[in-house]
């Protein structure tokens, strides 16, 4: 009888650590496919002692994979739960390949909204606010807060993925992430507003040598003007060029 090997806490840590390389070979055809293989290879080799079974199992996953990189270890954890069942019992309660395919879409959407569209901008806004308030270690604030959250999340995701398997999507949805995202966006809007007066008291970004109130009014006017341009669906590059031409006109109209 084949030796039964269960997945240990160290195997899950290994998956989480390897998930830092899930996008290392990103390509248009299979996206994170190779990264996913890299994530699960070590643990699969442990549960499948038979080399043929191990190779067969790896080839099964040599396919398309794409999700949010921070949520990728959660899927790997869930897949490994069912692969472990398959290796031990010869059958599993759910098809691990189907789990992989069904989780990557929802996790991609949740992860991108949470990390790329919310956490990164919010923490950026906080760091920029800190930098303008003359806190010179503002970049460390960004790196520390975002880095810790993302690293801890990768490990947490691996563990809950393995623990809950396919039910992980229910567990994640119960976290009510969309309410959290909305609240964080409210905070971000407030901080972005607060950045404008800080820009105008910071000697590096102060617009012209007028009084604080005049500078604030000018700055607020520029922000609103650009805001309208963005609402008209102009690209960032187009807005930058418009601002540049505006500045050249200003320099030629008003004396130095």
């Amino acid at each position: 009888m084949a030796e039964i090997v269960k997945i240990s806490i160290f195997d899950l840590i290994g998956i989480a650590l390897r998930s830092f390389f899930v996008q290392a070979c990103w390509n248009f055809n299979k996206m994170q496919g190779l990264g996913f293989l890299f994530m699960i290879r070590g643990t699969l080799s442990k549960i499948y002692k038979d080399k043929e079974l191990f190779t067969k199992s790896l080839l099964k996953y040599a396919d398309f994979f794409n999700t949010n990189p921070y949520f990728a270890p959660a899927i790997a954890g869930a897949v490994m739960k069912y692969e472990e069942e398959l290796a031990i019992q010869g059958t599993s309660s759910f098809n691990p390949e189907a789990i992989k395919a069904s989780l990557m879409g929802p996790f991609g959407a949740i992860g991108d909204s949470l990390f790329w569209s919310t956490l990164r901008p919010v923490i950026s806004a906080v760091a920029i606010f800190a930098a303008l308030a003359n806190i010179s270690y503002a970049p460390i604030i960004f790196l520390g807060v975002y880095g810790i959250i993302s690293i801890v999340f990768r490990f947490y995701a691996t563990f809950i993925g393995y623990k809950y398997g396919k039910d992980i999507i229910n567990k994640i949805s119960r976290l009510n992430l969309y309410t959290l995202i909305n609240r964080l966006k409210n905070i971000m809007a407030l901080i972005l507003g607060a950045v404008i007066p800080l820009l105008e008291i910071n000697k590096n970004f102060m617009l012209v040598g007028h009084s604080f109130f005049v500078n604030i009014l000018i700055a607020f006017g520029i922000v609103n003007l650009c805001f309208v341009l963005f609402l008209k669906r102009l690209t960032t590059t187009a807005v930058i060029f418009i601002v540049m031409f505006g500045c050249i006109m200003y320099a030629y109209i008003f004396p130095l």
């Binding site: 830092f20 390389f21 996008q23 290392a24 070979c25 990103w26 390509n27 248009f28 055809n29 299979k30 190779l34 990264g35 890299f38 290879r41 080799s45 191990f54 190779t55 790896l58 040599a62 921070y70 991609g108 991108d112 990164r120 901008p121 950026s124 806004a125 760091a127 920029i128 930098a131 503002a138 960004f142 790196l143 975002y146 880095g147 993302s150 971000m188 809007a189 407030l190 972005l192 607060a194 950045v195 404008i196 007066p197 590096n204 970004f205 617009l207 700055a219 922000v223 650009c226 805001f227 341009l229 963005f230 609402l231 960032t236 930058i240 540049m244 500045c247 050249i248 200003y250 130095l256």
Partner: protein, 235 residues
């Protein structure tokens, strides 16, 4: 200057890998990457200023799925290298650093378009590593997965290094010749331009990442901070 640029480009190329390829703790974000390079080259503050402007402007550009968006990390790193190195050149040291930054910033925009094309090319070629790994697994060699996976990172690193190296040397030499011949008013306009960039960036975040429903909160933020600033100065 030569070794300074090479060293900065080498470190910048490694930092830029964090953006989409490996680790992703966001050390590659302009607000972090630019001050690091600025510090290494001798002007942390200028690096931070560039980081703030670029971070805000390209915060809404999300690299999701197969989308290839302007690489704000490489843009900020390039602007920082060229501006800080330029600051030390006798031809450019007489000009305001912000004005030089403004000119470098606008010149980097077309280069970002070229970088997007190179990035797309690399991401197409990375499929070769996948095919290599799959074939080796089928032959029974599973150890090649790690090598193939890191092979993709090597492609990304080479792309970053070559792009930054060529662009940094080209722009530094170009501006050391061109800027001394520019009229004073143009230099003044680029100084203002650089100072306005964070404001345009705030609009970009407001217009593209948030939307109209957050405008009230944004305006509230302006008023609250104005009151805080006034109280701070009165006290």
């Amino acid at each position: 200057m030569f070794f300074e640029i090479i060293l900065a480009v080498l470190i910048a190329s490694l930092i830029a890998l964090d953006r989409t390829a490996i680790v992703q703790v966001m050390i590659s974000q302009p607000i972090v990457a630019s001050p690091i390079i600025g510090y290494l080259l001798g002007d942390f503050l200028l690096g931070l200023k560039i980081g703030i402007a670029v971070q805000l402007l390209w915060l809404p550009a999300l690299q999701i799925g197969a989308a290839i968006v302007p690489n704000s990390s490489l843009a900020s790193l390039l602007i920082c290298i060229v501006s800080v190195v330029g600051e030390k050149l006798p031809q450019l040291s007489i000009y305001s650093a912000e004005a030089v930054c403004g000119i470098v910033f606008i010149s980097v925009l077309p280069l970002m378009w070229i970088e997007e094309k190179i990035d797309t090319f690399v991401r197409k070629k990375n499929y070769l590593w996948f095919v290599f790994a799959r074939n080796r697994i089928a032959e029974g060699d599973t150890s090649s997965i790690g090598v193939a996976n890191l092979g993709g990172t090597l492609f990304f690193f080479i792309k970053n290094f070559v792009f930054l190296c060529i662009s940094a040397f080209f722009l530094t030499n170009l501006f050391s010749i061109v800027i001394p011949h520019l009229p004073r008013k143009i230099m003044f306009s680029f100084e203002i331009f650089f100072k306005i960039l964070p404001l345009a960036g705030i609009s970009a975040v407001l217009g593209e990442l948030l939307n109209r429903k957050y405008y009230f909160l944004f305006a509230t933020g302006v008023i609250i901070q104005m009151v805080i600033v006034i109280i701070y100065y009165i006290l």
